[in-house]
Symmetry: D2
């Protein structure tokens, strides 16, 4: 199974007054992992959107084990969890520079057209479908 990895530094703006990263920001990091996963397979999400197909999120789940802190370098590991043609879900794990697991979770997305109606990506963008399915 292919696992994508991307690393970046925690921003000051991502912290809260508890002194740690504010919890919804992990979903922004999951999205960075997800788009980097797709980019690495040749599926640039910006190009998909520009052709009129969107990929809104319909479920998000996260479990927080240890806090991320300002200036940490975190790594998002992303793997495809499930994909048949309309729904697409990913698993994520986030680590800090000491390779401690900070959080993990998954999200579910669905391919839709500009009116937010679900579409089967196999029919409308077969190249994207085959690139994604080959890594499941």
């Amino acid at each position: 199974m292919y696992v994508n990895e991307i690393s970046f530094r925690v921003r000051y703006s991502e912290t809260d007054r508890m002194g740690i990263v504010y919890h919804p920001n992990y979903y922004i990091w999951f999205e960075i992992g997800r788009t980097d996963y797709m980019r690495s397979l040749g599926c640039n999400y910006r190009d998909i959107e520009e052709k009129g197909i969107l990929l809104p999120v319909i479920e998000t789940h996260c479990f927080y084990k240890k806090p991320a802190r300002y200036d940490d370098v975190v790594t998002v590991k992303t793997a495809l969890k499930e994909f048949k043609g309309v729904r697409l879900s990913f698993d994520y794990e986030i680590y800090n520079q000491k390779t401690e697991l900070l959080s993990y979770g998954y999200t579910v997305q669905v391919f839709v057209d500009k009116n937010l109606k679900p579409v089967n990506i196999k029919k409308v963008m077969p190249d994207i479908y085959y690139k994604l399915i080959s890594n499941k």
Copy 2:
């Protein structure tokens, strides 16, 4: 069962280029619901933090049914889901001004001290414990 309600207008900053509210922002709204729930019972979260007890989030879950849009007036309905003394979980539903259900979910929090070690709120802040438990 007590259900707290709070309403506010969707901010421009909360939208993304899909033209709808960016999905992690629902968790910011869940938190607004959760703190308003606690405030309405006389448990001001700022006061709790100032006495050295924090309430970090350890799980978040959200299901997205319809998009919230800029300038909508949304309502968060919050109810206590589970509480024994250390872990505290809440259920949320978000509606727009047409009373359409936009999303629902739940979060789990845990009472901790400044070193992020779990504490039993019944022992350290019995007044908070009894105010919360009476509404379960």
Copy 3:
């Protein structure tokens, strides 16, 4: 001169690890003031956008005097600073519940079409022009 006022509570998400409101968030509050100013004159910004006219920001300036803190109730006071037909600028002041001035600043916006080309609002939406100009 007409001065619009709108008040709301500081969100946990708006704080940073310094324990105070993270500085760019004041611009989100300026925008809340600006859109409430326009709404109060019968110029709903969402309606303007839906007719194809946008109002991107071309300059922002803010001076920070005292920190806003979590759970404070802040008030944004907004006044029209300058307006001729294309460029529109607003002055803002932000106060806390003790009526302490926390910050002040101004922003400059420009009316544009969907291709981000400047337009004279007097020509394309005279009703909006006259509502705004009457309050300068």
Copy 4:
């Protein structure tokens, strides 16, 4: 004059429903530039904060020329504008991957202690003072 450069990809979360980057986010990027500037001189901002010295922002100014868009790779160029010992100001320019200037601006910060009282960094952290002053 030393000019620091740092590049990163625009996040989906940074866009708004106008389809471009939401304007206050440029200040988050300015901060990334500022902290990378300081890190490159051996002045890690996290270490400074952990020794009890903070650097809150007291003025922010930005001029927006062209929009940044999702998935662009932007570069922040940061230079020290003014520094005497208490106040510290930086100039910034932001470019996209086509080397188009998107925005420019400056911010003013002040060294303070934990009670937010100004301090002369030359006295309390002379090593930081000399590292910064040598690059003015």
